[in-house]
Assembly symmetry: D2
Homo-oligomer: 353 residues x 4
């Protein structure tokens, strides 16, 4: 990897955009040199265009970059999208049409049948949707997406168990406030409270899980025929979505087999040594009361999913707890890992020339 | 009800004891005149023996009562027990042997086959275990218990649906810190965090639910043969346990039938107009994001259970959210309502003479 | 008080407006029959026009009232204003010009020299500004205001000590999130955090305190010549502003004199027995770690101010802690008590005919 | 620095002990090889003797170290003390008598006239108390202490301004729960609450500040004759004590002079490049609402103090906000920096041979 690759971020002034700025700092392959935002911000240095909501101060390397408007002209070939769903569809498509590769965290194209909903450890073969996508849409570029921030925690915990035939899953979430962006959840709503509802989140978890764990064949992905039922709740946690999961299998494994599958699971990112790949994508914790969001979510740079409390379920087969970092593995980090895999596997060769 | 009934509280200086003191203030039938605690507190006025942890100040009516040691001599005939489980077994039994009626919030005797685990709206006929209890144990008195603070929320939401044949239940809880007493949960453990484990709580929910919803016949209660699987979690909420519930029925009702069953449900406490009975034991909220603990738990004096978000479950039949006040309906209020029912139904006639 | 007085609330759909709705429920003198809001809400029943943010559900007595637009026509003679400061000035003036009495919680007119900044226990004589106000502005009606929600806590604790000559005050606040309305403070800003800044709050505390404690003479109020310096902070508390206060006097009293002054303080509301007046406007708590917002703020219907930890200050003379309910005594309750005093003292006679 | 120095930690299983374990991980000079605790833990591997309360898991480098009892035999020459104050006095003295250097975070010896209360940037010359200490007490070893976790934040912000003659200071704190150790503050006390009292904390801040900023002359430290008055409060923050400070000077500087003094301040640790020294010990933030504990406290490895909101005070001269990491700069990190300075300045030469 001798030359560094210039990259951009669409929606750079929002909270997910800021997460990209943080995550790409000191990236060994990618140089963040282009920041796209709304017309209102365009032309201003990033330090003036953005209200920095994350910890510390705006990283020095982006402070003086002039924000561009959200048009492909002048943008690099590889662009991450952190755009709000209300505007993402058309802009992302314009970039793809112009030849750019859009690696998007927005939900807009996730469920399109010709758009990979990519988790590099789980379904790298879904990238084979891209030729079909380009052909069907007449694009020179391409769009790849990553899952919703609660879905990712579930699928990372389930993927190693897919071989046992996942039949039914009931999941109840306790999701961090950072999942709603900024200003996001009003403190009057969540302080010392639980909100047992997150708009469209249950549908996303149920549908995305089936697609991510589905099989690619010929030119399409066939959904995993598992039934997934989600209860989504917001709790007063800053970062980290915690899930309680009950799962039923076709061929019920032993507890030892599950532990072995979780602990031994490695994917392409680990085999290829991708820069943002966690050494172990799933970490099983044997303490009786872990994982916990405040204590565990920042470990492994936020890129691993933590599982604990595996035990038998008297209704389905097994139950356990899973935790993942919603703004890292569930947003910026997920997209960057997607781009790393695409680079490594040659999907950016045309784009980058 | 011409004469008032003197009552006592065992474990009066602890946090549940304080809840009894609060709840019995201005009770129309019961006069709290006796406060039992450990030898260390005995002989002191209550205001000195206790560190008041609830809001406001120690209610005036108990400030100067001299605390008694935990022996039946001098205690009234009707005694509520708020004792810690580590000491409750022997003391409660000594009181029962002496002829007292113990209405206990402790877990120690809940699962004994001859002890009613009473929820007045649900299983008043379980009180018929008492003659068997007295006979078998040679007691002149008796012990009645109320459920665990998370169980009560579940069974109140399920009881109106029992007629449809409850077959399987998966429940995930988000429980308030007050459920753990004082000092209870360390702030370093729960601030901006979730603890996905509460010792023995899942077992209690699974077993108590079967007993409470079971049928009394001849001299025993037969457990409801439903399978219940619980995930118990602690969250940073002061009062109110929130549950997400998925349930499967033998004869699946329509959504309208469930709503009708929940809203129309009334029990003996409502029919008899018991002083602490909520007019509607289950209140269904149609807002999309309710019930919420901070906003709803204090309504109806904390004695109702709130249900919302009823919808189909793709794995079991239906799913919903339930909320109840863990220290009122789940502790002191539950026990007082139990005693009110016992009085109304004549189970205290011998005792009170 | 044989006939009830119809009253209205301007800004009725906002959070302070909702506080008025709650507070006026079952008021013995005032009938809330008119709810004013923006054109967007006008014509809808209140239950549809408002998103209820307080606990429980919208009180039944206002659910079906049709919301009016913010014009005097059709409004009652006595109108409370909970309007946002961005729009309050002109609307309140139009109501006053039309002959209405506006009892406002908005900050807009507080510092006008001819507008009473009224705290009934402290400065009822400031109402004598009203004839001057009517004359100068050519109004048939009138405007009266109550202080900012942090100022009120300070002045209630200082007023009983005014006789000792308040010379200098340093106050540092820890203010509840409800003080910022809805959506107000983003949870991403305040969860497990402190925000050491509240826009314009320090200036309000410093200036309003001088006016409230000032003396009325002839046709004007002369500010108290005390120096006040405020540090204002937001903390993760739902209701209740907590203040640490250091104060210096001209004639330094003894600790006993201060305690006596605080505990013995009564004002006109107490002497007249106004419906919303707390029996003791200041309650001194002798526990070493009180008052505390979550435990004390709801006592006395939120209308008293709680003081504790009086001790010598090595820099000024004394220091102490004070706590008050920012949305009750600091907003809706304050305004209602103002109106009660005005009624009692005859300031509404012309208006109400 | 060719050879590494073996060090120990007394009180290693407590929460401050765990902070030392975390902080000393990968230290360039010191090898943590000895962990002392109570008899109950002695002989067990650290992983079994301790309940790890910090984030993540017990660092691998200490997992298998066998815990020693709290006696000097076998301990290294340089020992950090994280002992609880209830037992620290005698044990620390026994270690000093045996020839060990104790660098202590406990409060027990801080105010002893012959014990340095050391802040390396502020008063390195206070180490000259040590010969007097050894002579007076007949010790071969020595004891050095660091300040209380709230004092350190204040003195770091004041020290650069000492040249203007600090005359009077009023400080109000909002302190994190981690400052109280584990289990420390009960969640029932602090959730959605403020506790306006911390035992002995105000006295410590007032007295320690005078000693730390005092001058060493001949064989003693003369306290700074400034008056300091503290209000100490606990808030629901995990890490980071936030202070509001008003200060009066003999020679009142301009705002620009203060900013220059804060920003330009460097001490011996910076000049010598000590491993744990922050490049700038005080960082001034110009944003209007910073510093904030959750967003800023982890910056600079927790070793800097953050100041903001400098403005005139109408009672004293200036007021500002200060923030520091209570368990790093206020505990483990402070002690390690103390030891680094002692090593650099030759105070450990005898000890280490």
């Amino acid at each position: 990897m001798s030359t560094r690759i210039p990259v951009g971020v669409l929606g750079a002034t929002g909270m997910v955009g800021q997460e990209f700025v943080n995550f790409l700092q000191s990236h060994p392959w990618f140089d963040l040199t282009w920041l796209g935002a709304s017309d209102r911000s365009a032309g201003k240095p990033y330090r003036e265009a953005t209200s920095w909501r994350l910890g510390g101060e705006i990283p020095a390397y982006v402070r003086d970059i002039l924000v561009s408007d959200s048009k492909p002209e002048g943008a690099p070939q590889l662009v991450f999208s952190a755009m709000d769903a209300s505007v993402a569809t058309e802009i992302e498509q314009a970039f793809a049409a112009s030849g750019r590769t859009i690696v998007s965290n927005s939900r807009n194209h996730r469920m399109d049948s010709d758009v990979p909903l990519l988790v590099p450890e789980i379904n790298p073969e879904h990238l084979n949707l891209l030729p079909e996508q380009q052909k069907r849409r007449g694009w020179k570029g391409q769009i790849v997406t990553n899952p919703n921030c609660s879905t990712i925690v579930l699928v990372m915990a389930l993927a190693p168990l897919k071989k046992y035939g996942i039949r039914r899953v009931i999941v109840s979430t306790m999701q961090a406030i950072s999942g709603a962006g900024y200003p996001g959840v009003a403190s009057m709503d969540i302080n010392a409270n639980v909100i047992p509802f997150i708009g469209n989140e249950e549908e996303k978890m149920e549908q995305e899980t089936q697609k991510i764990l589905g099989d690619f064949k010929d030119t399409a992905v066939t959904d995993l025929p598992a039934k997934v039922s989600a209860h989504c709740n917001r709790v007063a946690v800053v970062n980290g979505h915690t899930l309680t999961v009950s799962v039923e299998f076709d061929k019920t494994p032993s507890e030892g087999e599950i532990l072995g599958a979780l602990r031994g699971w490695r994917g392409l990112p680990q085999q290829k040594g991708l820069p943002s790949a966690p050494p172990c994508p799933v970490i099983y914790m044997s303490e009786k009361d872990r994982p916990q969001p405040r204590r565990d979510v920042e470990r492994e740079n936020g890129m691993a999913v933590f599982v604990g409390r595996l035990r038998e379920c008297s209704v389905l087969d097994y139950k356990f707890v899973a935790l993942g970092h919603n703004t890292v593995r569930g947003a910026a980090g997920a997209a960057v890992l997607n781009a790393e895999l695409m680079k490594e596997e040659g999907w950016l060769d045309d784009v980058l020339g």
